[in-house]
């Protein structure tokens, strides 16, 4: 191997001089060599392993979510009026729109899966031990932020399941004593779910949480490099003794293979089973049964056990205990022993908590299947979603459209006025629907500026300024005049 390497390098020597001069020039100005050296030469005690791929996998997924998310925002509009239409447009009309949205939507599930694997690996390997408390806490913060991303992102399509799942989700906040109602109101931007809720969730999902995630990813990576890779379970987490192998190139390759696997799996999945969009949220629907995404199912089911006066214990006290135990793990378990069989208490508690989550999730799905009323309603919702997915995209009628104008003209007097307006060629100068032209002023909103009587007066006897602009007195019978005024007042 060394032999072939040298000959290869030798043959390259000829054109190296120029390329290396370019690199030298670049490096003198950026110091990239040192930076890359530092980034890539991370020593891994005990050698590289596939068990260590999950961290980079998460980083990759996060970047992929950012990229797909940014591009989805090209067509998305965060308003209760348009959100659903724009997501339907992305899903049904835009080239590769359904695919990209699926990548983003399934990407969130992938993040959860890889996150759990990352936590599992860290726990089983005892890699949180040995001066790694802050590293672990930064990871816990990232975990919470990712949960926040999943929660806020779920509402954005503004379809039935998004709306009702978020209604339930925000309701949970009101269980917090004293400040609960306030938190709920803050999240919703009001007492009820509405367009303000969507704006808030959008800003949180797209600007606030991601920027905090970037920050904590940096902290997490920095603390990781500071503490060093923990290596295998037999290794001393503070002063590693086993022979180290560099991150570059073999671990980098493994990480790349994993990222490639992830994106391939996501692509295949997105291609075969595109993410669905249900019918637009209908807040007055009292039948709809909200069901969260699979990773929120255990929590969802857990909440069902706690109703009435006890709910405080189930919704606040117990989860807080679990969270404190989880976040405080490196403080509680301070021994440097990393082999799982030598630390049975931790392993058993962790396994039990994990199994309860799985059980709760399974129970949630099972209960839905077993209750015939629920199963029927869920089947109905499924059918409605499938039906919606089958119907072609229906563009939204712009509010400036004729259809909207005609609603205002439900008043027959105004409708008569419109006919007169056109017969008198008022529209020649003032434009159709009074939108205004270079030759005549805009009449939309004139009803707010003048009373009906004032309008009649100036129409009969235009002011000097109006006459100067070319307005001629309108000679009409009283009832016709009333009709024109009714029409003018309908122009909004």
């Amino acid at each position: 191997m060394n032999q072939s390497l040298t000959t290869q390098e030798g043959s390259k020597l000829a054109n190296r001089s120029r390329t290396s001069r370019v690199f030298e020039w670049f490096d003198e100005r950026t110091g990239i060599n040192k930076l890359l050296g530092k980034a890539l030469d991370e020593p891994i005690p005990g050698g590289v392993r596939f068990a260590y791929i999950f961290g980079s996998g998460l980083l990759f997924l996060f970047i992929s979510q950012v990229i797909t998310g940014v591009f989805l925002a090209i067509y998305y509009v965060p308003s209760a009026d348009h959100a659903h239409t724009t997501v339907a447009y992305i899903t049904k009309e835009v080239t590769a729109g359904s695919f990209l949205r699926s990548l983003h939507s399934y990407g969130s599930s992938a993040v959860v899966v890889v996150l759990l694997l990352h936590v599992l690996q860290t726990f089983v390997y005892g890699s949180y031990k040995g001066r790694r408390e802050l590293l672990w806490i930064a990871g816990c913060v990232l975990f919470a932020l990712m949960a926040g991303m999943a929660f806020t992102g779920y509402l954005l399509p503004w379809d039935q399941k998004a709306y009702f799942a978020t209604a339930v989700g925000t309701n949970i906040a009101s269980e917090v004593p004293l400040v609960g109602e306030g938190i709920k109101r803050l999240m919703r931007g009001g007492a009820d779910m509405g367009t303000l809720t969507l704006s808030r969730f959008f800003v949180a999902h797209v600007f606030l949480i991601p920027s905090v995630i970037f920050f904590f990813v940096a902290i997490h990576i920095y603390l990781f490099r500071k503490a060093g890779a923990a290596g295998p379970i037999s290794e001393d987490p503070i002063a590693p003794k086993q022979k180290a192998e560099s991150f570059y190139p073999r671990q980098l390759l493994m990480d790349l293979v994993f990222s490639l696997l992830l994106i391939t799996a996501l692509s295949v999945f997105s291609w075969l089973v595109p993410a669905e969009l249900g019918p637009k949220a209908n807040p007055s629907d009292t039948q709809f049964l909200p069901r969260p995404e699979w990773y929120y199912r255990p929590m969802f089911h857990w909440l069902k056990f706690w109703q009435g006066s006890q709910s405080f214990i189930g919704i606040i006290v117990i989860p807080t205990i679990v969270i404190v135990l989880f976040v405080g793990l490196p403080f509680i378990d301070r021994k440097l022993e990393r082999r799982p069989w030598k630390r049975p208490v931790g392993v058993i508690v962790f396994t039990l908590v994990f199994l309860s989550f799985v059980t709760l999730g399974v129970l949630s799905y099972r209960d839905d299947r077993r209750n015939p009323a629920v199963a029927a309603q869920i089947a109905k919702q499924r059918k409605e979603t499938e039906e919606f997915m089958r119907t072609p995209f229906e563009p939204e009628t712009a509010s400036s459209s004729l259809a909207a104008a005609n609603i205002a003209l439900a008043d027959p007097l105004a409708a008569q006025g419109k006919t007169i307006f056109e017969a008198q060629s008022c529209n020649s100068c003032h434009g159709d629907g009074g939108i205004g032209t270079p030759a005549g002023a805009k009449l939309i909103g004139v009803g707010a500026k003048m009373s009906p009587d004032q309008l009649i007066t100036v129409l009969r006897q235009p002011t000097a300024k109006m006459a100067e602009g070319g307005m001629t007195p309108l000679k009409l019978k009283d009832d016709e005049m009333k009709a024109v005024v009714a029409y003018l007042r309908s122009l909004k």
């Binding site: 390497l5 030469d41 020593p43 724009t86 590769a96």
Partner: protein, 202 residues
């Protein structure tokens, strides 16, 4: 295997005294390898990995962004203004209101436009936009005079739309028409004002 040990050495040689010496080696092992100058099989593998990941992500994104190139997002569809034979016997221009639906991405704008159905000198049906080519007022047909007369600056047009007098730079604009199943269809478009030739504006 040799290779990796080398690079570890390169990276761990951080002490001041050896930093100088290590510099050229570092340059080769990192910058070189990353940009393919160092030429190790690994570089190729890494490049393939990065390239396939980026391809998987960027192909759908590029197609997504380029959607407007293939979509007829702002094209005006054909609208019907009546049965063709309804107009076969007309002798003077007839005003018609047509409903125009215009797609604007995920929304549609519906508006009502007035047009005149008239006959050209050759006896063919022509549909004229009522928008004055001067400054855009709507031009009414003045039956008493047998002419279109713009109320704004007295532009005068013949029954077939040809310019007779006044400030407009050209006659009234003719719209594209077609007859399908006996119905007269019109494609409504806007044209640039104040220029002597007819130019469509989006």
């Amino acid at each position: 295997m040799e290779r990796e040990d080398q690079s570890i050495e390169a990276g761990t040689q951080q002490s001041e005294g050896r930093a100088q010496l290590a510099a050229p080696l570092e340059r080769r092992s990192f910058l070189g390898l990353l940009f393919g100058v160092g030429s190790v099989g690994v570089t190729a593998l890494i490049s393939i990995g990065v390239a396939s990941i980026s391809a998987l992500l960027s192909v759908p994104i590029v197609r997504f962004v380029l959607h407007p190139l293939s979509a007829k997002t702002t094209e005006t569809a054909w609208s019907e203004i009546g049965a063709a034979e309804e107009f076969s016997a007309i002798t003077i221009p007839v005003k018609r209101l047509m409903t125009v639906e215009q797609r604007d991405g995920w929304r549609k704008v519906i508006s009502e436009k007035s047009v005149y159905v008239t006959k050209g000198k050759d006896g063919q049906l022509r549909v004229l936009s009522a928008i004055c080519t001067h400054l855009g007022c709507s031009v009414p047909w003045i039956e008493a005079k047998g002419q279109f007369i713009c109320p704004c600056h007295n532009g005068v047009f013949a029954p077939d739309g040809a310019l007779i007098s006044g400030p407009p730079p050209r006659g009234l604009d003719e719209l594209e028409t077609k007859i399908e199943g006996g119905r007269l269809l019109v494609r409504y478009q806007y044209f640039r004002q104040l220029v002597p030739t007819k130019e469509v504006i989006a």
